[in-house]
């Protein structure tokens, strides 16, 4: 019989801010995966390239998650697979398997894709598979297709760029140099489209610049056209490295503008953007006031309700905690497994100013059995925070939700206020993979 293990307190399920260490407040070891699945995976991200097809080459167990991701987003017709079996490992015909398998699949597709993303796996690294040769053969065989070298290699997550960073870099590999358009700007490396109302979108568009990002590209040619932009903006931390590489390759400018919860940083970012655009730096006071107003209003709505934040909702959970706390919110818990460099300053502030705030891991084994919520109402920002607190009052966003700037802060405050007033079915919502991916997700 299944039984809930009782209300025993387990070690390593929480540490006070005063005791927490940067950057890893918790031991590493075995890991648990909570059923919050809203963050995008490499299938979701890869599907952003219009008119593309994905081919995964890996063991069947590894294929399962990606095949069903595609199926759940209604895109099973855009993903095919080549299963590696034991015989291939023993025979060492890994390169032929990719070449022949990909060729076979391409031949069977009802329509020729403009791009094929081939995802090789951990085992290809260990077998020293000669991937450059594989791609050279495929490119010669199918000169009309752009082959994109992608990776499903989580074993390499501590070996250079993480799989997430790699994916966001490779996503733009087919872009080739084009004549420069001095009025064209891109946002690169984000999964979700940046909110039209954000300061970022308004500043660029209102000054006569076109603003493109992959989530809005409807055709392959439109997507290739991103190469003409003079400036690339990246806003998501793991997008930065890829954006830098792309910009260098195509001779574009690049500016990194993360979604910050610090007003000074926000002002500096937008001043820098204005500089790149050659326009006057925006007057931030109206935006700032609106953000403050929204935050204060939300704080009043919550009226002291505990707030828990996780790293899946926003990329700077600790900085958000600081901002909210400074506006009178009762932030008591942050769910993360490590503290990013961008959150360092906020972490030090929280240690000093909110010493009793609890940091919780999401992946430590004890989190599997630790009690989820103690009955006190909690406003959770993020799916993992919702799950671990057992709360039905939560802000259901991932990866910053497309928000940016003061407008983003104001909107986030609005979402917090709405969440406090309207319960949601966490169980139904957080298990949907790839929140906001195209085609919707059916579960």
């Amino acid at each position: 019989m299944l039984e809930k293990i009782g209300a025993k307190i387990y070690e390593d399920t929480g540490v006070t801010a005063s005791e927490a260490l940067f950057p890893e407040p918790f031991r590493s070891g075995l890991e648990y995966a909570a059923p919050a699945r809203g963050m995008w995976n490499i299938v979701h991200t890869g599907m952003l390239i219009p008119e593309s097809h994905q081919i995964f080459v890996c063991a069947e167990g590894c294929l399962r998650g990606v095949v069903l991701t595609a199926a759940e987003m209604g895109a099973i017709g855009r993903l095919s697979s080549v299963a590696i079996r034991e015989g291939n490992v023993l025979d060492g015909d890994m390169e032929e398997l990719i070449i022949d398998g990909a060729s076979d699949i391409i031949g069977k597709l009802p329509r020729r894709p403009r791009a094929v993303l081939i995802y090789t796996s951990c085992i290809h690294h260990f077998m020293a598979c000669d991937l450059p040769r594989v791609y050279a053969v495929l490119r010669e065989r199918f000169p009309d297709i752009d082959f994109i070298e992608c990776f499903m290699n989580p074993i390499m997550r501590k070996s250079g760029l993480t799989p997430d960073q790699l994916m966001r870099r490779q996503l733009y590999a087919p872009l080739k140099p084009l004549p420069r358009d001095p009025r064209a700007v891109n946002i690169v490396g984000s999964d979700l489209p940046t909110d039209d109302g954000s300061d970022l979108c308004r500043l660029t568009r209102e000054n006569g610049f076109s603003l493109n990002e992959i989530a809005r590209m409807r055709t392959y040619d439109e997507y290739l056209g991103m190469a003409k932009a003079f400036l690339n903006i990246s806003t998501y931390p793991s997008a930065r490295a890829g954006a830098e590489t792309l910009s260098k390759r195509l001779g574009q400018r690049h500016i990194y503008m993360p979604f910050a919860f610090d007003y000074g940083e926000t002002d500096a970012e937008y001043a820098a953007l204005a500089g790149e655009l050659g326009v006057e730096a925006p007057d931030a006071s109206a935006g700032r006031d609106a953000a403050d107003l929204a935050l204060d209003r939300a704080a009043r709505t919550l009226g002291g309700m505990r707030v828990a934040i996780d790293y899946t909702a926003v990329s700077r959970p600790v900085q958000l905690a600081r901002l909210l706390s400074e506006h009178g919110f009762n932030v008591t818990d942050i769910y993360l497994d490590s503290v990013s460099g961008e959150d360092r300053d906020a972490f030090d502030w929280v240690k000093g100013n909110l010493p009793w705030l609890l940091f919780h891991p999401t992946a430590r084994p004890a989190m599997r059995v630790a009690p989820r919520g103690d009955g006190t109402p909690v406003l959770a920002v993020g799916q993992k925070a919702a799950y671990f607190t057992g709360s039905d009052r939560f802000v259901n966003i991932v990866e910053n939700g497309g928000l940016h700037g003061y407008d983003g802060i104001a909107k986030l405050a609005g979402l917090i206020a709405d969440a406090a007033e309207t319960p949601k079915d966490a169980r139904a919502l957080i298990q949907i993979k790839g929140l906001g991916c195209s085609g919707g997700c059916c579960v």
Binding site: M127, A128, R133
Partner: protein, 255 residues
């Protein structure tokens, strides 16, 4: 820049041969980088006079990937840049992956540009058993493979195996066979047997090193023959070999 790889049966004298070729070339003014591709990490020990290079894998384990390129290499006798790939202890893990990871990191950190060698010598461990061990002979790495062998059957058999691998990889644009280096053990009909191997695999003996106590003596001193006994017959033999090997790779050197 020429790049060559030495393969051959374990214990046949690849590292001794590689180190002495490196030292001989270095003495003639060639800038050499010798890369040991063996978890034992002892390829360059004779060039380092007792010092031990921290292996690339050790460095990654201790410091992630964020360490200066210079930490991966020690300058040995004659200015030879010495690098050891490293790998797991016997019976564990995956040495093939270790070689691959080490060579990838060298490339990623720009070792070839930074150290700007004129000649790179890869000294690859004994029995090539999986994909990782063929990385040194791939496009972008060695252009020529030299097989070190004696007249002993096991060594010849291993040599034939390696030659077959090289032949299998021909259409991939991997390294071609540069020749056979005969490391004499004075077994019966040694020269004839190795000549036969050469003929069978479509190559030639590019040079031979006589068995001599000088080589042993130098080893006892922890040095190459070139350093310990530069005027010996053995040293002359290595010079001739180095010249021949370099010539096979398209580099004419006065030695």
């Amino acid at each position: 820049m020429i790049q060559l790889a030495l393969y051959g049966k374990g214990g046949i004298g690849k590292s001794t041969t590689a180190s002495n070729i490196s030292a001989a070339l270095a003495a003639a003014g060639v800038r050499v980088m010798q890369i040991g591709c063996d978890p034992k990490a002892d390829s360059t020990s004779a060039l380092l006079g007792g010092r031990r290079a921290e292996t690339v894998i050790d460095l990654i384990q201790k410091r992630g990937r964020d360490f200066p390129l210079e930490d991966m290499a020690l300058e040995g006798y004659g200015g030879v840049v010495c690098v050891e790939a490293g790998g797991p202890t016997p019976g564990l893990g995956c040495a093939g992956r270790a070689i691959t990871a080490a060579l990838e990191l060298l490339k990623e950190k720009g070792a070839y540009e930074k150290f700007a060698p004129d000649a790179v010598i890869y000294d690859v461990l004994g029995d090539v058993v999986c994909g990782g061990f063929s990385v040194p002979m791939r496009a972008g790495y060695a252009q020529k493979v030299f097989i070190v062998t004696s007249g002993e059957n096991m060594a010849i058999h291993a040599g034939a195996n390696i030659a077959m691998a090289v032949e299998n990889f021909r259409e991939r644009g991997y390294a071609s066979l540069g020749g056979i280096i005969l490391n004499r053990r004075n077994v019966k009909n040694e020269d004839e047997k190795v000549l036969e191997l050469a003929s069978d695999v479509g190559t030639e003996i590019v040079g031979a090193i006589d068995r001599s106590d000088t080589v042993q003596d130098a080893e006892e001193l922890g040095k190459t023959v070139m350093e310990a006994f530069p005027d010996s017959l053995a040293a002359a033999g290595y010079r001739a070999l180095a010249r021949a090997v370099a010539a096979r790779c398209g580099m004419e050197v006065e030695l």
